[in-house]
């Protein structure tokens, strides 16, 4: 049966502002399917973002939403979770928002292992502002600010998250649409800070400059580079050259921040 997305979309908000073929809409649909699978309550679900094309996503969703300052989704979301630990708090944003201006907030949310889910949509570029390179733009690729090729190496968001202390880390792609909701469901169910990176296209500012002739070419690139973790176990280093692992990359059980903080409150009150 056709999936009923309307239940989670604010009336009158479609069509959305994203460009033709921009995968942000595919991610939004995955997020809605995950909310529905988990039967989340609108009044108990907070969706928090920073600034960017990806960060426009919460504006379309009918739940408690917070569109904040560039790179600050993690800071605002932490505030929400501390004040209302019973809420399901989900962050969403782009690679620029999360790893450049918001990089510091990102690593500290990971370090605290605060029980929230962060969906980071990586299209390798600052889409909204016209295609400046981000910390995720691959070496040699072109952006409006690196017309002769980017000299910097790009971040591996998943490794960054694991290194900083996130206890659930997964990766999917906009091409592999039916996996997106499944990864998000597991991430929300995990008690601790969960990071789900979704590789995406930005045909308008990244594709054009990097000689992708169409949205379809960009989607095919996502299809080709992705290797599920299970399949990768049987592949040699050469076969994995230039590939990106997808699926659940890391999972660990560790005390989460709001539970630990509740103990601090208890100790402080006992000491009175």
């Amino acid at each position: 049966m056709a999936f009923d997305y309307d239940k989670w979309i604010r009336p009158g908000k479609l069509p959305h502002i994203w460009c033709p073929g921009c995968g942000h809409g595919i991610v939004m649909k995955g997020l809605i399917r995950a909310f529905e699978t988990l039967q989340l309550k609108k009044e108990n679900t907070a969706l928090v973002s920073g600034i960017g094309c990806a960060s426009r996503l919460p504006g379309y969703i009918d739940c408690c939403t917070l569109h904040t300052a560039h790179g600050r989704a993690a800071a605002f979301a932490t505030g929400v979770k501390m004040a209302k630990p019973e809420m399901d708090v989900i962050l969403v944003g782009g690679d620029g928002d999360g790893t450049a201006i918001g990089g510091n907030h990102f690593i500290h949310a990971c370090r605290r292992n605060i029980n929230m889910t962060y969906i980071i949509i990586n299209n390798y570029i600052y889409g909204m502002t016209g295609g400046q390179f981000s910390p995720c733009t691959p070496t040699g690729h072109k952006a409006s600010t690196t017309p002769y090729g980017n000299p910097d190496p790009g971040f591996d968001i998943a490794k960054l998250a694991i290194g900083a202390g996130a206890t659930f880390v997964a990766r999917g792609t906009a091409y592999h649409a039916n996996q997106i909701d499944k990864l998000i469901v597991e991430a929300i169910q995990h008690k601790g800070f969960s990071v789900v990176e979704i590789l995406d296209d930005c045909p308008t500012t990244y594709g054009r400059r990097n000689k992708y002739k169409s949205v379809i070419e960009m989607m095919n690139r996502l299809k080709e580079v992705a290797v599920p973790v299970k399949a990768a176990e049987k592949m040699s280093a050469e076969q994995l050259e230039g590939k990106v692992l997808t699926g659940i990359l890391y999972k660990e059980v560790k005390p989460d921040y709001t539970s630990e903080y509740a103990k601090v409150i208890e100790r402080a009150q006992a000491a009175k």
């Binding site: 479609l14 033709p20 942000h24 809409g25 989607m219």
Partner: protein, 65 residues
């Protein structure tokens, strides 16, 4: 047993003409007609839902029983 066909609905006011549904349909059911996606050969549809899942614009629905 006769195969039941789905109803494929394309919401033109949402469709941005990106070709994604058309290109990734495994059975070549869809085509671009002018700016919008359109159904070319409904009989071939296997109801895999790939078009509906991948449309970034909430513009295509595969309605099955």
């Amino acid at each position: 047993m006769e195969k039941t066909l789905p109803k494929i609905e394309i919401i033109e006011k949402y469709c941005k003409g990106c070709h994604v549904c058309v290109e990734f349909c495994p059975k070549d059911v869809l085509e671009m007609k002018g700016f919008y996606a359109s159904v070319k050969n409904l009989e071939a549809c296997i109801k895999c839902m790939q078009c509906e899942l991948r449309c970034p614009d909430f513009a295509i629905k595969v309605i099955t029983e």
